[in-house]
C-alpha cells in the first residue's frame, strides 16, 4: 500500500513543521529589530571591522611595528610610522602609526593581524555593515578604525591632540 505509506510520511513531516510553529523563533529580526544593532546579534568572537584600541590613558596602543602588515595574507594593511614627541604624543611607546589603512576590498577577516599584534592594539570589532557602491570607500583610514576615546579623558590636552577630525564618534565628557 504505497499510498498509505506516503500519507504517513507526509503526516510525519508536517507534524514536525506544525510542532515548530509553537516553538520560540530563533531567526534574528535584522534589520528591523530594536537597538543600535537593529536586531543583529553576535558571538563575542565574531571577526568584524577592526578596531584600533587605546590604552588606559587614552593613548593609541599601536606602535607601528608593522607585524600585522607582515602577517597579513591579503596584504591589505598599509602603515606609515612616525616618532612621538613630547608635544605631540600619540601612542604609549616611542613610535606611532601616522597612517594606518586597511583595505576591506582585500581583507579576508582571518584575524592573523590580531594574532600578530604584540601590543593588543588591533582587534576585530563587530562592525559588519561595510557594503558600499564605491570600492574606494573600502579603504579605511586610522581615524575610522580607532576606538572611541574614554569619556573621562575628554579634557586631557595630550589626548585631544591625538583626536583627528572625522574620527570615531566620541562620547562627550561632562562639561565639554
Amino acid at each position: 500500500m504505497p499510498i498509505l505509506k506516503n500519507i504517513a510520511a507526509i503526516a510525519k513531516g508536517m507534524s514536525i513543521t506544525f510542532m515548530e510553529m509553537f516553538q520560540p523563533t530563533t531567526v534574528e529580526n535584522y534589520p528591523d529589530g530594536p537597538g543600535p544593532l537593529r536586531g543583529a546579534k553576535f558571538q563575542e568572537r565574531y571577526r568584524g571591522v577592526h578596531v584600533l584600541q587605546r590604552d588606559e590613558n587614552g593613548l593609541e596602543k599601536c606602535v607601528a611595528c608593522f607585524l600585522c602588515a607582515a602577517n597579513c595574507p591579503a596584504n591589505c594593511i598599509y602603515i606609515e610610522a612616525a616618532e612621538n614627541t613630547a608635544e605631540n604624543r600619540i601612542s604609549g611607546a616611542e613610535r606611532y602609526a601616522k597612517v594606518y589603512n586597511i583595505d576591506y576590498n582585500r581583507c579576508i577577516f582571518c584575524g592573523y593581524c590580531v594574532e600578530a599584534c604584540p601590543t593588543d592594539a588591533i582587534t576585530h570589532g563587530h562592525g559588519f555593515e561595510i557594503a558600499t557602491f564605491n570600492a574606494t570607500n573600502l579603504i579605511y583610514r586610522k581615524e575610522q578604525l580607532l576606538a572611541a576615546r574614554p569619556a573621562h579623558l575628554g579634557a586631557n590636552p595630550v589626548f585631544n591632540s591625538a583626536e583627528v577630525a572625522g574620527g570615531a564618534p566620541a562620547e562627550v565628557a561632562p562639561g565639554e
Partner: protein, 783 residues
C-alpha cells in the same frame, strides 16, 4: 710572495677541517659551514671574549672554551653543538635579556637583531629573573647617532670599530661590571666622523640611526645594491627603498651584504646622504623661460623647444656655436652618449666637464704600461703605500679605510708626503712634510743638485726605502699634475711592481674623463685629430679641438657661443660667472635643483640622480661598477633619456647615437660580402659576445655595448659587472692622452660632510654640520 702557511688539521663535529696555523677556531668552523654564534667577535677587529656565546667543547680541555679566542692546534677535536653547549648558550642569552627591554616592536633593529635571532635559536624567551628592569632614557649623541642604554649587550663592537677601524676612538666604556655603559667622547654627545659604523655593527638596537629612525621595518623594504654617488671611491651601498606617494623612496643606506670593494665600510655620505632626493627644493617639472621668468611646461613642449632652438643655431652657425658641459655624477653611458651627441649630432668638440684630476696626463704617463694602475682592492693588499698629497680621511674615506686597515691588519708600510699633517700620518711609517708644490716635484725627482737639498736629507732616505719596497702602491692627489705625473711614473718604474693611483673628486670624475668629456680628447684619451676608429664608426667627427669650460664662457661674452647645454654641473656657481655674460646665450640645464647655473637657464629639465637610474660608474682607481635603480620619482627623467629626446627633437636619427635595434635586420655582411668591411660591426660584436641587441633607444646598456666595444680597457667581464662586482679598467690600455692645462683642474675640496651640489641639499649632512663643535676634536695619540 711568502710560502703558503702550514695547514693544521682539526675535527669539528666529526668533520675534518684544515686551516692555516693561527686561524681562530670560530673562523675554522665557518670554512666547513658550521656557524658558531657570537656577539662580541667580529672579523678583523681585536678579540674581546666578552659575550661567551661561542662556547664549544674542546676535547681534553676541562671547561667549555670560547671559539673566538682559541687558536686551532693540530689534532684538536671540537664539538660545537650538544645539550651542554646549548644550555650554556641559553643561559648567556637569558643573562643578556636580564635587563634588555623587550620593546622589539618599537626597536629599529627588530627583525634584523642578532639577539632576537639567538633568543629564537636557543629558546631563552622565558626568564628566571624577577627583578625589575632598569630603565634609562634614550640619548641622542649626534644628529645621526642615538643610544638606548638598556638595549646594549656590551659586546664592545662599536668601541672597537670606531677606534681600530676608523681610528676615531670616540666611544669608550665607563664604569665596570653590570653597570658598564658605552659613552661618547664628549660626555653627552659625540664629536666624530659620523660614519655610522657603530650603528651598523651594533648587533642589537642600542645604537640606532637618526636618519632611519622609526621610518619602516627591515622586511618592509626592498634592498637594492648600487654604487654611492658622492666621492670618487665608489663604495658599494645597499639602499633600502619603500613605496611612497611619488614612487620609491630611499629610507636607508648600508652595505648589507658586506660585498664590494668597501666590505662593511661606508662613510656618512654613503650611509645617510641619499636624502637630497627627497629635498623639497627638487625640481618637479620642466621650466621654460618666458618673459624673463621660468615657468612650468610639459616635457614635450620643453624638448620641442630645445630641439628647435638648437637646430636654429646649427643651421645658422654650425656646431661650433654650441657648447656642452657634462657632469662628474652622470653614468659612463650618459657621458659617452653626451660626447657622442656633441660630436656627432652637433658636430662640435666644445665639450668639457669639471676636472678634478689630470687623468689625461695620467693616461699619457702610463700609456702602454699595463699593470701599472692600482685598484681599490690593491690598496688594501699592498705591502707598502706611498701617499702624496690629498687628505683621504676627509676626501676619500674609503681609501683612508683601506690604507688604515692594510696597515693594521697586514702590517703594510705607509709613507706620507704632504704639505699638511694629515690624520693618516698616524698610521704612517714615515711622514714627510713638504712646504710648496715645487717640493713635491723635487721630492719625486730627487734632484740632488738642488741648492736646498742640504736641508732635506731625510728625503733621500725615504726615497731609498721606497725603492726597496715590493708591490708599492703610489697614490697621489690633485697636487700632482701635468709633467709631475710623468716624473712620478718614472719614479714608479724604478720600483719593481709599483702601481699608481690618481685621485679625482666626484663619483664619476674618472668616468667622465675616460668617456672623453674633453674638447681635445675622445673616449679613451684618443686625440680628436687622429680619430681613426671613432671616425670610422661615427662617420663624422670634428677634427679641431673645441673650447674648454673657460673658453666657452669667454665665448658667450663675445657672442661666439650661441647655445650652452649643461648636464648635472654648476659651472656658473663654481667659476663665479657674471650672470650678464649669458644673457644672449640659449642655455639648457639638466639638473635636480635650481642651481646658480639652472637659475640663468632658458630651459631647465629636472633630472634623475644616480640612485634613480641604471648604468655604470668608474671610481677614481678605474674600477667600474654597476648602478642599479633604487629610488624613483615620477617627476624627473634620467639624463640618458633626455639627451636622446633632444637629439630626436633636433631631427637627428637617434639610431646613429644609440646602437639600439642594430642587428635585428642586419645581414651580417652576407649580401654585401663579408670582406667588404660593410658589415654592421656592432652587430658582429654583440653576436661574438653573446649579447642581445637592445630594443629601446633609452636603454643605456646599448651604449655600454658600444663603450665596451670601442674604449680599450673597458672590455671587462659583463657577467662580473652585472653581478655587482668591481672590475678594474686599465688606463694604460687606452689612448696616448695629453698633458692638460693645470688651471683647468679645480679640486672639489669636499670634506667628510660636504658633497658639492648634492651635499647642499642633504638635510642629514647639513644637520651634522650645524651640530659640529666649533673647536676641533681631541688631539689623539700619535704613536
Amino acid at each position: 710572495m711568502a710560502d703558503a702557511p702550514k695547514l693544521v688539521n682539526i675535527t669539528v663535529d666529526g668533520k675534518p677541517v684544515a686551516a692555516p696555523a693561527g686561524t681562530l677556531l670560530i673562523e675554522a668552523c665557518k670554512t666547513v659551514g658550521i656557524e658558531v654564534p657570537s656577539f662580541c667577535y667580529y672579523p678583523n677587529l681585536s678579540l674581546q671574549g666578552a659575550c661567551r656565546m661561542c662556547l664549544v667543547r674542546v676535547e681534553k680541555m676541562p671547561k667549555l672554551q670560547t671559539a673566538c679566542t682559541t687558536g686551532i692546534t693540530e689534532g684538536m677535536v671540537v664539538v660545537t653543538d650538544s645539550d651542554e653547549i646549548r644550555q650554556a648558550r641559553k643561559s648567556m642569552v637569558e643573562m643578556l635579556l636580564g635587563n634588555h627591554p623587550l620593546d622589539c616592536p618599537v626597536c629599529d633593529a627588530g627583525g634584523e637583531c642578532e639577539l632576537q635571532d639567538m633568543t629564537f635559536s636557543y629558546g631563552a624567551a622565558e626568564s628566571k629573573f624577577i627583578e625589575l628592569k632598569q630603565h634609562r632614557d634614550e640619548q641622542q649623541w649626534s644628529p645621526v647617532v642615538y643610544f638606548d642604554r638598556p638595549r646594549c649587550i656590551l659586546c664592545y663592537r662599536c668601541v672597537r670599530v670606531c677606534g681600530e677601524g676608523m681610528d676615531v676612538w670616540a666611544l669608550g666604556v665607563d664604569n665596570r661590571g653590570a653597570v658598564s655603559t658605552i659613552v661618547p667622547n664628549k660626555q653627552d654627545h659625540l664629536e666624530c666622523e659620523e660614519c655610522g659604523m657603530c650603528i651598523d655593527i651594533c648587533p642589537v638596537g642600542a645604537l640606532t640611526s637618526g636618519a632611519y629612525r622609526y621610518k619602516t621595518r627591515p622586511w618592509e623594504m626592498k634592498h637594492v645594491g648600487t654604487t654611492c654617488t658622492h666621492c670618487a671611491d665608489g663604495c658599494k651601498t645597499t639602499l633600502g627603498v619603500r613605496r611612497s606617494d611619488t614612487g620609491m623612496e630611499i629610507v636607508r643606506g648600508d652595505n648589507r651584504d658586506k660585498s664590494g670593494i668597501n666590505g662593511d665600510f661606508l662613510c656618512i655620505k654613503g650611509r645617510y646622504a641619499f636624502d637630497f632626493a627627497n629635498n623639497e627644493d627638487r625640481l618637479t617639472q620642466p621650466l621654460i623661460r618666458k618673459g624673463g621668468r621660468l615657468v612650468p611646461a610639459t616635457w614635450e613642449e620643453a624638448f620641442e623647444f630645445v630641439g628647435r632652438r638648437f637646430k636654429e643655431v646649427l643651421d645658422r652657425e654650425g656646431g661650433r656655436a654650441i657648447g656642452v658641459i657634462g657632469s662628474t655624477r652622470t653614468t659612463n653611458e650618459e657621458n659617452y652618449l653626451l660626447q657622442k651627441f656633441a660630436r656627432v649630432a652637433l658636430g662640435t668638440n666644445n665639450i668639457d666637464h669639471h676636472r678634478t684630476a689630470d687623468f689625461p696626463a695620467f693616461a699619457a704617463a702610463l700609456h702602454g704600461k699595463s699593470g701599472a694602475t692600482a685598484s681599490m682592492r690593491d690598496v688594501y693588499n699592498a705591502s707598502a703605500i706611498l701617499l702624496i698629497g690629498n687628505d683621504p680621511t676627509e676626501e676619500h674615506p674609503l681609501l683612508a679605510w683601506q690604507i688604515r686597515n692594510n696597515v693594521r691588519l697586514h702590517n703594510a708600510r705607509l709613507y706620507v708626503v704632504n704639505s699638511r699633517p694629515i690624520k693618516l700620518r698616524r698610521q704612517a711609517a714615515s711622514f714627510t712634510q713638504v712646504t710648496s708644490e715645487t717640493d713635491f716635484t723635487e721630492f719625486l725627482g730627487g734632484d740632488e743638485s738642488l741648492a736646498s737639498f742640504a736641508t732635506r736629507e731625510g728625503w733621500n732616505a725615504v726615497r731609498d726605502k721606497l725603492r726597496a719596497e715590493q708591490g708599492l702602491v703610489i697614490i697621489f692627489g690633485s697636487e700632482i699634475f701635468g709633467e709631475d705625473i710623468q716624473a712620478l711614473a718614472r719614479f714608479a718604474a724604478s720600483v719593481p711592481g709599483a702601481k699608481l693611483l690618481c685621485l679625482g673628486d666626484y663619483a664619476n670624475s674618472r668616468g667622465a674623463a675616460d668617456m672623453g668629456l674633453y674638447p681635445d680628447l675622445l673616449p679613451g684619451y684618443f686625440p680628436v685629430s687622429g680619430a681613426g676608429k671613432f671616425h670610422q664608426e661615427w662617420k663624422i667627427t670634428p677634427a679641431a679641438p673645441g673650447m674648454n669650460i673657460g673658453q666657452m664662457f669667454e665665448a658667450t661674452k663675445t657672442g661666439q657661443l650661441k647655445a650652452l647645454y649643461v648636464i648635472g654641473a654648476n659651472p656658473v656657481g663654481r667659476l663665479n660667472v657674471n650672470p650678464s655674460t649669458l644673457k644672449n646665450t640659449f642655455v639648457v640645464v639638466q639638473d635636480m635643483f635650481l642651481t646658480e647655473t639652472a637659475a640663468l637657464a632658458d630651459v631647465v629639465l629636472p633630472a634623475a640622480n644616480a640612485y634613480e637610474k641604471a648604468g655604470t660608474f668608474t671610481n677614481t682607481c678605474g674600477d667600474i661598477q654597476i648602478l642599479k635603480k633604487a629610488g624613483e620619482v615620477t617627476t624627473a627623467k634620467p639624463d640618458f633619456e633626455m639627451i636622446v629626446r633632444i637629439a630626436d627633437a633636433i631631427g637627428f636619427d637617434v639610431r646613429k647615437l644609440v646602437p639600439f635595434g642594430h642587428g635585428v635586420h642586419a645581414d651580417m655582411g652576407q649580401s654585401r660580402g663579408a670582406q667588404s668591411g660593410e658589415a654592421d660591426q656592432h652587430a658582429v660584436w654583440l653576436e661574438a659576445n653573446g649579447l642581445e641587441p637592445k630594443m629601446s633607444p633609452f636603454d643605456p646598456v646599448a651604449t655600454l655595448d658600444e663603450i665596451q666595444r670601442l674604449v680599450p680597457g673597458y672590455d671587462v667581464s659583463r657577467t662580473e659587472l652585472l653581478a655587482g662586482n668591481d672590475q678594474h679598467t686599465s688606463i694604460a690600455a687606452m689612448g696616448p692622452g695629453t698633458v692638460q692645462n693645470p688651471e683647468l683642474i679645480v679640486p672639489a675640496k669636499n670634506n667628510l660632510f660636504s658633497s658639492g651640489t648634492l651635499g647642499r641639499y642633504s638635510r642629514t649632512l647639513n644637520s651634522v654640520i650645524e651640530n659640529k663643535d666649533p673647536e676641533p676634536a681631541d688631539a689623539v695619540p700619535t704613536d
